[in-house]
């Protein structure tokens, strides 16, 4: 599996994700200004109303300008104290118990164990933290209003935004502590859960027929017993090197030793790079069809996911990746590529050996092309292909960086070499692996994603609870969090791309027992129904722009699938998240300023 999401540099990322949001909020702001002016006019008349509105807005600005950090911290301290008083730390205990039971059920088969464990801990942490944030934030102010403790706060020189801000920060602090504790437990749990060793006994090793003239032939070959859902192939070279194959997604260091019974065994140590954070360098993808024309997309064979399209084997059609940033300093020995090509077979062929493919390098300026480098692509596997420094070409061996890469830019053409078989691919299926980043750092980056979600939910919850009752505020917050996570399906609904029409049409279908596909019969109600549904879709569309895009902050997939989270992507997400919650806090400020607290 490969990440489908784009990673953009900081500024671009902010522009891309933030601009839409800011635009929507800007429109919303202007609209609410107009409404506010109308209300003020109704209350005070057009001129005095305008003056009142202006005064109100300048008061808002003044409040922020005179924010007192000491007051905000005092209020944050209070919120923290309150949340601890409400025994939120129980959540950490729940998490611990969850992990204890999960150990039994988690599939620890070698190739997916890391992914399973990481997905599990990240999902449970997110769920716990989100539920906690919703409950903490939505009920805090309402309970203060109920017990009227807020009266004594408001009777002090506290500005209203400091109340909102203090709450959010206090709960955030509690949540951060909790997240740190859970993160620590998770890290321990995952590394313990994945830790294992293998032993290879004499009886499991077989002698190999080998060519004595070869330089360093494989002399023995062994297979470990099934353990933790996987086994390793172990190769013994003539010079004494032992190579443990990493098909289960990790390898081990091997050591020959004698056990207590005096038997000689091969001991495989702790798993190597089972937890990893690969740093991918992506290119852009273009297709060439069988006539040699360049296309945006390949052909659709109908079975693969929509986002992958295919090339036909044995023809000129190819997928052409253009990489922009492969430099000699970073890849001094050559470029390790990882390919996750979809394989579509029109006949079965030899399932075990995979489908033969080829890769050609091309110099983007002078068009010089290398000889094909052959590989076999297996279904559902990430193939590794190492492009060495010296590449064969019709002109003889040439240097990769001298002759094919120009200013970091190079084209790689992937073809399927078996007639009537297909490779299916998308942009992020092929990448150059520029080493690994430290996994623990990546783990923390993943936690940061959860932290951002927490921040957003806390802000939304506290802001909502300035005017709504606790339960209503909670419902609203949950609604916003859910729609943020389900933004894709919401957009589908909003754009009317789903079957069965809008809410009213769907209701009619249910009542009249018609399935999603049949046309509704003509009737007087059809026009109004469509209009109503269009209005609802418009509303939903507006909602999709306002709701924070939680998919951005859900970076657990990267961690689970072993990809490094791009630092600039993380930074842009942080900027977006913090901006969004600031805006929400300002809205809360306005609401709290306009309401009476007693």
């Amino acid at each position: 599996m490969v990440i489908e999401q784009e990673t953009l540099p900081l500024i671009e990322g902010i522009l891309h994700y933030g601009l839409q949001m800011l635009l929507a909020l800007g429109i919303l702001g202007v609209l609410s200004l107009i409404i506010a002016y109308l209300v003020a006019t109704a209350l005070y008349g057009p001129i005095a109303g305008g003056r009142e509105l202006k005064n109100f807005l300048s008061e808002i600005c003044r409040d922020w300008f005179y924010t007192s950090p000491r007051r905000v911290l005092a209020l944050a301290w209070l919120a923290m104290k309150e949340s601890i008083n409400r025994r939120v730390l129980v959540v950490a205990v729940i998490f611990l118990i969850l992990l204890l039971f999960a150990g039994w059920y988690l599939d620890n088969r070698g190739d997916i164990a890391a992914k399973m464990y990481l997905s599990f801990v990240f999902t449970s942490m997110s769920v716990l933290v989100i539920v906690l944030s919703v409950v903490l934030s939505a009920f805090s102010l309402p309970s203060d209003l109920n017990s009227r403790t807020i009266l004594l706060i408001v009777a002090k020189p506290v500005r209203r935004h400091e109340i909102v801000l203090g709450r959010v920060l206090g709960f955030l602090a509690t949540g951060t502590i909790l997240l740190a504790v859970m993160g620590g437990i998770s890290y321990f749990f995952v590394s313990r859960g994945l830790d294992h060793t293998h032993v290879l006994r004499e009886s499991e090793i077989a002698l190999e027929d080998y060519d004595p003239t070869a330089e360093n032939p494989i002399v023995k070959r062994g297979r470990t017993a099934m353990k933790h859902g996987h086994r390793h192939e172990v190769l013994f070279y003539k010079n004494g090197d032992i190579y443990v194959e990493d098909t289960p997604g990790h390898s081990h260091r091997a050591e020959v030793r004698t056990n207590q019974q005096g038997e000689e065994i091969v001991q495989l140590g702790e798993p190597l790079s089972i937890l990893r954070a690969r740093v991918p360098r992506y290119g852009t993808l273009l297709f060439r069809d069988r006539n040699g024309e360049l296309q945006d997309k390949g052909i659709n064979v109908g079975t693969e996911w929509k986002y992958k399209t295919c090339i036909e084997g044995g023809t000129r059609s190819a997928g052409i990746w253009t990489f922009e940033d492969l430099y000699e300093e970073e890849f001094p020995n050559g470029v390790p590529l990882e390919l996750t090509l979809g394989v579509y077979r029109s006949y079965k062929g030899d399932i075990d050996s995979g489908i033969l493919g080829s890769l050609r390098l091309r110099n983007p300026t002078d068009g010089r092309t290398s000889n094909p480098i052959l590989f076999r692509a297996k279904e559902y596997y990430t193939d590794r292909l190492f492009i060495p420094r010296t590449v064969d070409s019709p002109e003889g061996p040439l240097d990769l960086f001298k002759h094919f890469v120009v200013d970091g830019k190079v084209e790689m053409e992937v073809r399927c070499e078996e007639r009537a078989q297909y490779f299916c691919m998308a942009r992020y299926d092929v990448y150059a692996r520029a080493g690994d980043a430290p996994f623990s750092l990546n783990f923390v980056k993943g936690l940061t994603g959860i932290w951002l979600q927490m921040l957003l939910i806390l802000s939304v919850g506290v802001a909502a609870s300035t005017v709504l009752r606790g339960s209503v505020a909670m419902a609203l917050t949950i609604g916003i969090a859910l729609s943020g996570h389900l933004l894709d399906s919401l957009k589908t609904l909003a754009q009317g791309e789903n079957y069965g029409g809008g809410p009213l049409e769907a209701l009619i279908r249910i009542l009249t027992n018609r399935n999603l596909m049949v046309e509704l019969p003509n009737g007087f109600y059809l026009g109004p129904t469509k209009m109503f549904d269009a209005a609802m879709r418009g509303l939903l569309n507006a909602v999709t722009y306002i709701v924070p895009d939680f998919r951005l902050y859900n970076m657990a997939d990267y961690v689970a699938q072993g990809f490094n989270i791009n630092a600039s992507q993380l930074a842009s997400n942080i900027v977006c998240g913090v901006t969004y919650s600031l805006i929400v806090i300002i809205i809360g400020h306005l609401c709290l300023k306009l309401r009476q607290v007693a």
Binding site: L75, S147, T149, L151, V158
Partner: protein
Amino acid sequence: MANETADPPEMTAASSSEPERPAQAEVVIETRNLTKIYRDFWGRAKVRALKSLDLEVRQGEIFGLLGPNGSGKTTTIKLLLGLIFPTHGQALVLGKPATDEAKNEKIGYLPEESYLYRFLNAVETLDFYGRLFNMPAKVRKQRAAELINLVGLEGAKRRPLKEYSKGMTRRIGLAQALINDPQLILLDEPTSGLDPIGTREMKDLILELKARGKTIVLCSHLLADMQDICDRIAILHRGELKELGRVDSLLQVTDITQLQIKDLSDEAQEEIEAVLRKHHGELVGVNHPKATLEDLFLRIVRESDDHLGRRVVRELPTETASENGSPEKTDES
């Protein structure tokens, strides 16, 4: 006259000859046409809690708000603090609109019930509210220690407030109200729940605060105490102002004159009696005796209950108040 003996003439003479506080002393609280109507969810008027209140409270005085339950005293204080917004009219506190949070820098407020966080202890409570006044840690610590001492909670300062008795809660509430050394102190029934000693101490404290130049507005149902300590009072009844003025002048009974004369010769006394007989009077003593505040309060409430409606209260200039007796009243209903 019940207080004839309790209130010797010398005292009366002394208090009426006491130099009046200059009328131009700085105005600390000013309300104009202050009106509060509580509405229900649909915006329908539910309770008219305060009707067109005009008040002025000056620097350095103790101002008492009196009235039966539900007459709008707490509502007035909340309006002054900007906790609720007036339906009409406006209030200026320390020269700023009541809704301006900046004015709270110099205000102390003791609400009628404890609105403190019950999971904090006394020290944490005072420290917390001190931080809300942006006070540096050292000052906070010192102030908190002083105040805990002042309200006599030394022994319980580390216990969470949820374990406090009513009177103890009241005491920490008072300490909280004084944390910022306020200029203006609003006390809503400060003595409720206090033991007799506590009540006494509270009275002394209020007088001491006054001596230090603070302005104090308080509501209480303890009329005897109010009579002792208040400079001026306002009596509210169903949201309307029924009486306003200096306590000493309000309590003067003007249709009775009391003479107490030392070393009066018999002839002189006969002469006076003759004059009085001529005017169909009977000598009791030459003096304006004091009524109790309780009498005044009960009379006004009874009158107001009988004649519901607006009663225009105009406070006389303080200089003439002591000479002229009770303020002018007109009953419009």
